[in-house]
Symmetry: D2
Subunit: 362 residues, 4 copies
């Protein structure tokens, strides 16, 4: 039992003299300068909605001003480390495709993914791909096909299906067997439209806006993928969705990559009980680091798509901090003694593995 001499916080603070503080800062800066000035970090794409106005059920009129689509693209273009954007098919309800293409190119960006909005209008309140009204269901599936057409037009490698309206709220509300038939058939129809050149990413989420969303967990998503058995259909992991399902996002990466099925990442952070859509790295430092480690180890080659809802923050600032945080964590991984970690993992011991990991910041 040994111990340092005890001082008050003020004394401790004073004892770190200004001179030492400066010398320390200079040493740390020099240490950092020795790191390779390159990056193997997956590239970043900004979901355009991150840069738009946000609202919620209590503040429907929005927490910030409206941000038109062209402005969103310009903000994305100014973000250090961001090379692409994700859009929604519905962005083009009132915006010309060619104008979008020009704006994105002007900013030196590419479109990395086209998302399908089949949850943002009253029509889809009770369901989209699973709606029992054939007309509404057909509209929804057509909207998925429109994403395929748009992805081709915009040069995006993939389109995405997050089927947030497909689920239920109350016990006994839906007939589950029919529901699942309709869901999988709907995905298949879109997948046929996407084949063979486009990737289709299915994004799971436990709940919201329904109290129960059908494609709920990485397991449910994977089961659907295995039933479909189509090489161009895979999964999208949203970091906060994985947390909400009490998954280890890192394990979810490995589970999808077991079948080469991780097609896209939606990055954010959250407290774990809800889809808080916060800035990456601000709550779950270790879990995020582990996620990045397994993205690297499992050779994930896709993009990191920023998917946040910065309700009360400036979207551009939040996106920039997101990139900065993830890049900083990725850089930390370069310091990790991978061989030591793998040896420790063979013991399965918490102490053994933590002894390797904790060195990164403690």
């Amino acid at each position: 039992m040994t111990e340092l001499p005890h001082m008050s916080p003020e004394e401790v603070s004073e004892s770190l003299s200004q001179e030492n503080r400066e010398r320390k800062g200079a040493l740390q800066q020099e240490a950092e300068s020795l790191e390779p000035q390159v990056s193997d970090c997956p590239k970043f794409s900004a979901g355009l909605w991150v840069l738009a106005q946000t609202a919620d059920r209590f503040c429907v009129s929005g927490y910030g001003p409206k941000v038109p689509l062209d402005e969103q693209i310009k903000i994305a273009g100014k973000l250090d480390g961001v090379d692409g954007v994700e859009c929604h098919g519905s962005d083009f309800d009132d915006f010309e495709v060619q104008r979008y293409v020009d704006l994105v190119a002007e900013q030196g960006l590419v479109t990395t993914n086209v998302n399908t909005n089949v949850w943002g209008t009253a029509k889809y309140g009770l369901g989209a791909f699973t709606h029992r009204d054939p007309k509404i269901r057909s509209h929804a599936i057509d909207e998925g096909k429109r994403s395929c057409a748009l992805a081709r037009e915009l040069g995006a490698p993939s389109m995405a299906l997050w089927l947030g309206a497909d689920g239920f709220d109350y016990p006994f509300q839906i007939d589950y067997p029919t529901h699942w038939d309709l869901l999988i058939d709907g995905i298949r129809q879109v997948a046929e439209e996407a084949a063979p050149d486009l990737k289709v990413g299915i994004e799971y989420k436990l709940k919201e806006p329904r109290t129960h969303v059908t494609v709920s967990t990485v397991g449910a998503c994977l089961a659907i993928l295995l039933e479909l058995n189509l090489p161009h259909v895979g999964g999208t992991i949203d970091f906060g969705h994985a947390l909400m399902a009490q998954e280890s996002p890192a394990e979810s990466v490995c589970l999808l990559q077991r079948y080469d099925k991780l097609f896209n990442v939606h990055f954010n952070d959250a407290w774990g009980y809800w889809d808080d859509d916060m800035i990456p790295g601000t709550v779950h430092f270790w879990t995020t680091l582990e996620f990045l480690y397994y993205c690297r180890k499992m050779d994930y080659q896709g993009w990191f798509g920023l998917d946040m809802f910065p309700y009360r923050e400036d979207g551009g600032q939040a996106a920039q901090m997101a990139v900065d945080n993830v890049q900083a964590m990725w850089a930390k991984l370069a310091e990790l003694d991978t061989a030591a970690l793998e040896a420790a993992q063979e013991t399965m011991g918490a102490i053994e593995t933590q002894q390797v990991i904790r060195k990164l910041i403690f």
Copy 2:
């Protein structure tokens, strides 16, 4: 080990002959007719927002059509078993008070509670009673005082403070000690305005719209009430908020009533992890029944205010079902052998108490 002869579901269904079915129905109806045709159930008040348009962050344009305030009042007037309404101060931003008063009277209703909207505009994004900008904070507190003035004008016995914007989202975001000082001081200012004739109900909620709301649990609410120590300031229990905090809503009733501090009830149901704002009795039958039992036992004399977000349902139908369900459960309590339950509770045994309770439906 004994056992009934086994049949398929179809055989069982057939064996319950049409004749028996009808006879059974008649007998059950006669049995019900012997119940007393009166009610000691607390009276119901409809939150007008239940009857308005609902939206969420994904469907900002709303799940149903806009419903103007006068229409909301008319729907409330048609609800069987509803005698009152709850409104918000902000309802009168663009609606004349006198017109509201006339409409409510026309429908044979009274206003039971005036809620304070200090969360529904961008201004309050980062806080209301706790905002560090004195101007915004002052606006928020004035809005609370406006509720007092309105309550008097409308003849309502109480006003309410649900401080949903007062909390935080990120670690280190706020200075907690200052935050709590501002919060309690703000409540005290409104309480002074309300004294001595108006009741003030503080409604707690764990989270949403902030990831952490400050008046979070029944315990936190009660601690504030005990610090304030003002006879006209009490608490409001929202059933779903209590569930979200993993409370037994029944116990929360008893805890507030330990100090005569249950001033209002906001009724709904939820799955327990989020404020789903569903129709009472549709998920948590036993928990709701227990809640009603302790409202009766602890002599709660206030209203049951319906507080739901029927996103995808007709508001009027949802409200009517809410009343019907709660009244049906209240009627069940009349069948409960209270003496037997209390004797069983003295044993503290799960089997003993369940044996009494389960008879109500099994």
Copy 3:
């Protein structure tokens, strides 16, 4: 807006005169007598551990007295409505198989399932089928094979794998890809031993005893089943495990039955956040009823295995109440207007479906 005359609880209680109370009881009894005196309810099997001593980490010495295996079997034999028992392979570490066989037969019971204990000793602390130490892993897989041999010896139709020790506690603790390889390979080895005559049921659970258990959700379980693609390997749904993963247990039934993969049910109830292992029907009335409805609709032909931890209750009494509650709920389903429910489900409306369902008790 109409309303009943208002009375105090005492007045209401008195107004239900003793005469009316008795007449009402008689009518209700006659109504019940018209119901078919048969049952199509799946048969019940008692997990023998339900009838044994329980303990937890705080009360390691046990909440009740030790109950030897022969006594457990005798208690099971006395339960009305119970026709079978489930045991663990480890029950025979110190108990002769033939003696067990005789005792079970004496009680007129059958063994319905043999569970595999690869989590109850320190050896398996860090893993069983996934242990990186080949010797421990081999022991675990052998224990699975022993369950197969025992199932054949005891005449049980199935054996089960709940791999509660296979998971992790800390970030970075295990190498997920290797872990999943070992897990699936281990299951496959046991499945080979079980083929072709024995069913193998994989039971999922989100967590406990590890903070993260690998076969976590119905989706993860199903993905494993689809990878294995073996007709005799399916899934087991534990009601409380499904709740803990925020699943609708009813939907989980349908999802497994989509592939004819529901092999066994472990019945209990829980508050939803943890595996509370309580008596069925005591918390989630509607969710349990929906579960039963879909077991019936999806033609589940297996057993309902009671799997509870009645820490502070008498095991036999808890088991009897479990059977009574489930049977009572099953009987309620006979009163359900199935055609009306299915028509309502086509509308997908909460109000429409609730209007059918609520009649069962309101």
Copy 4:
């Protein structure tokens, strides 16, 4: 939009030459050497149970070997940075007080807190301070008084009440008003015994071993303290208990310190849904750092009591890592620009505060 040249992980790793790696390490070491070699960190005390055998309901026989009390004390004595131990009254059921006193002194340790075990035997299954059987209740309260006597005998400044058996499992199981009366009266009786020289710390926990524990949240705890209004009765924050209640542990510190009522800390980490009792800093880095910041800011002068259940780890190693992690985080706080943080907190902005905080590791 700017970007670093892209390389594969292997290339990046190679580009960080061995020479640079070493130079970097040396610079970092020199930077660290400039930090003050003192500590203002609260002192650490080891809960002796951390160093004992652990078990759970599935592995009742224990994950490791039995560790006798004298051995626990010796292990505690070898821990760097640990100056005290916490014990339970029940430790002395079969261990002489004087022998304990000698052993603790031999190791240069002090006893910092005496905990009260009124949950670890079958007798207290249904309750302790709230038991409706006066004899059992009296035993429990006597056990609390015994802790007072022991604290005085051992020279400990405080005794503690964690009333884990006092709660309920099922709806309707207990009569809440009576229950609360008994609870508070029982605490008062022990408090009288403790006055005036001993501090009494009430530790809250949402659940486990009961599905609902009565002293559940920081708010419930504080309400009890305010009702009692005794200067020597305060609260204990267990880090994981606060997380389980979805509190910010830092805010809970401030809330108790608002009334000078934080008397003890039980330190650990957890995933947030359950009392995982893990090593501090391994899951919630930022939340732990914020907790430490507010312990410092609110002038918490008590001990940090290690309270973990290292089921599968060596207790001594886990305890040492706990101390090392917390000390490392405390040292990080010395680098925090407090003035900048406080200025940022005045803006209430997430970006503004994160920009200060993130510098500590990014």
